[in-house]
Point group: C2
Chain length 367, copies 2
């Protein structure tokens, strides 16, 4: 080949973090009947956000504001912080990529829970980092094990999501405080809070932008119902945010998304209602699991992870059975989570279908 | 500071490629009367694209297809190539960032024309490359000088835009063929073709995806009139495209943009009409320049660069005068282009206003 990639790029295997439902639909030759596998919000965004986006289309010929000024100002006001503590990116995925690039180069270690967000691992590998995966204990991260790994490997990043994906569990603010306080020197906490709007009171570490070592990632893709708009944001100490600005794609955000996210943020009543409907959907999923002899793990997100009660091969056969019946769900891919399937809160019709299909699948796979 | 960035990030100065018009509007405290400085298309996208995007908003709760399958298939069909020869990104800006990352690390040299696209330079600096800037000759790139620089500095990338921004000039396909054929070993051509739809027949290097060393960047931001949707694409040999896939943000593209771009691509009559209206706008700009004693450089884009006939300080004062009167334009920032201002094709009202304000500004600054 006449082109000369960097050594790292040349050695990097072709990989994708995870396959989208559209790929499966193309393979199946038909659309899913229920799309409850990507932790999207079937309730969608505030009608105000839809209206604002629709109104913005007449100006789609204009580039986005590269400073994301209005959206940053809105987010800053929402949290009582300065816009200098906020950077917008192409979803949490894009921001995790930038964040990793700030800290990671050949041989730098990064600690993450085993089975946690594959896109984070993708970025660490992409920047030649040394990934240290720490197994979950009791279906959530072991704070002590993670801190010990960070010390042993001199990690520069410790990644954790709270509430947790793919298990739906969470840590109390006090435990997270202990984690942050005991990070070894030179190690920052990447706190992925994609599901924070669904979290119970008191389970979120209070926002404190004076603390450089805590870097938080939040999004309009989950509770705000705008996954397709690709708007995530990072909250952090101003010098850390300034570092993101040194390298980010200044024109990476769609104008439609900027405008929609700001409108969505302005409708907290809608958000509250979505969270309430999501809680009802979780209850329904708990009931369906119980009705079928599966043990639902109590969730603080918009999905419920269900213990299928046997080994990963069995869980995979349940998953495949559901997918084969037109229900898009996913499953955790590492132990101990891989004894489970992960089912999103859907519309009533989605959950009716799931309730109807699950027992059939379980009979077929021999539960 | 308790956080430990990589050495390169720590040493990288805070910088932005260029300031958006919204920033200037915030500073002025009022909106521009004519927005003809960012080479956007005031004619907007095909009404079919607008309709498709509007219809897509009801599904904004869904993530984008991470493979960008349908859009890649549409682009591939348009060019008679395979979808494996196409990767979609967050505008050409995003794709240039990925492209640089594939080839550049500490100390790798990259050749670009002096005064060419600042965002490309931003990415090269961001990945610790050694930027070699080659001055323009007669307001376009010197192919021989660039090739010589690539050889001397063992460059891995030679960047060139055709038609050229910020001058509007272009090279014939035969000259570009000579450039590609004479690239030193291990050097690829980044051919930025953002303005290709406006280019005269015969001025574009024919698409040949068997050639790994020619990597092309195109966009829906210019002639297709969708800058706010942030959809660019790279065309190249399949192994090169596969390398982009190893590192790109799989979920970086808005679903609205994916759908809108595909619809825009399907309306080639609209594109043709936009190109024709853009050509008329250029003629009008030539006339305005001539009426005011400025020498317009013949353009093959949606902007016209006008020689103000004196030094960069004078050109800057003309620019500032226009901006002060509510007309957003820009100017090339390196010699020899910085004797000029760059004015985009606008609506009739935009160009009427420009025609009215320019003589007043020239009188004020003492032409």
């Amino acid at each position: 080949m006449p082109v000369r990639f960097t050594d790292h790029i040349a050695s990097l295997p072709a990989t994708i973090p995870f396959v989208g439902p559209e790929t499966a639909e193309r393979q199946r030759g038909k659309q899913f009947l229920a799309r409850i596998g990507a932790n999207e919000s079937v309730f969608g965004p505030s009608p105000r956000a839809i209206a604002a986006m629709a109104a913005s289309l007449g100006e789609i010929w204009k580039y986005c504001d590269p400073e994301n000024h209005d959206l940053r100002a809105g987010i800053a006001k929402h949290y009582g912080i300065s816009p200098d503590n906020v950077v917008i990116g192409e979803g949490i995925d894009g921001l995790l990529g930038l964040g990793v690039r700030l800290f990671v180069e050949q041989g730098v270690s990064v600690v993450m829970p085993d089975g946690a967000y594959p896109t984070f691992a993708f970025h660490v590998n992409g920047f030649a980092g040394n990934l240290v995966k720490v197994p979950l204990v009791d279906d959530r991260e072991s704070i002590d094990d993670m801190l010990e790994a960070a010390r042993r490997y001199k990690a520069r990043i410790l990644y954790l999501s709270n509430p947790n994906n793919p298990m739906g569990t969470f840590w109390e603010a006090g435990d997270l405080r202990r984690l942050a306080d005991n990070l070894p020197d030179g190690c920052v906490l990447f706190l992925d809070e994609a599901y924070c709007e669904f979290a119970p009171e008191g389970s979120l570490l209070p926002v404190d932008v004076s603390e450089a070592k805590v870097i938080r990632f939040r999004t309009f893709s989950k509770a705000y119902g705008m996954a397709g708009a690709r708007i995530g944001y990072t909250i952090g100490q101003a010098d850390v945010i300034a570092a993101f600005n040194k390298i980010r794609n200044q024109y990476g955000i769609s104008r439609v998304g900027q405008i929609g996210a700001l409108a969505a943020l302005g409708d907290q009543d809608w958000l509250k209602d979505v969270c309430s409907r999501t809680a009802q959907g979780r209850e329904r999923l708990y009931q369906i699991a119980a009705d079928n002899g599966l043990k639902a793990i109590p969730s603080n997100t918009n999905f419920v992870t269900m213990d299928c009660g046997r080994d990963p091969v069995f869980a995979k056969s349940v998953l495949d059975g559901l997918v084969g019946q037109g229900i898009f769900v996913r499953m955790p891919f590492a132990a101990p989570g891989n004894r489970c399937i992960r089912v999103g809160v859907g519309t009533e019709a989605d959950l009716d279908l799931f309730a109807q299909v699950l027992p059939r699948v379980l009979r077929t796979v021999g539960k």
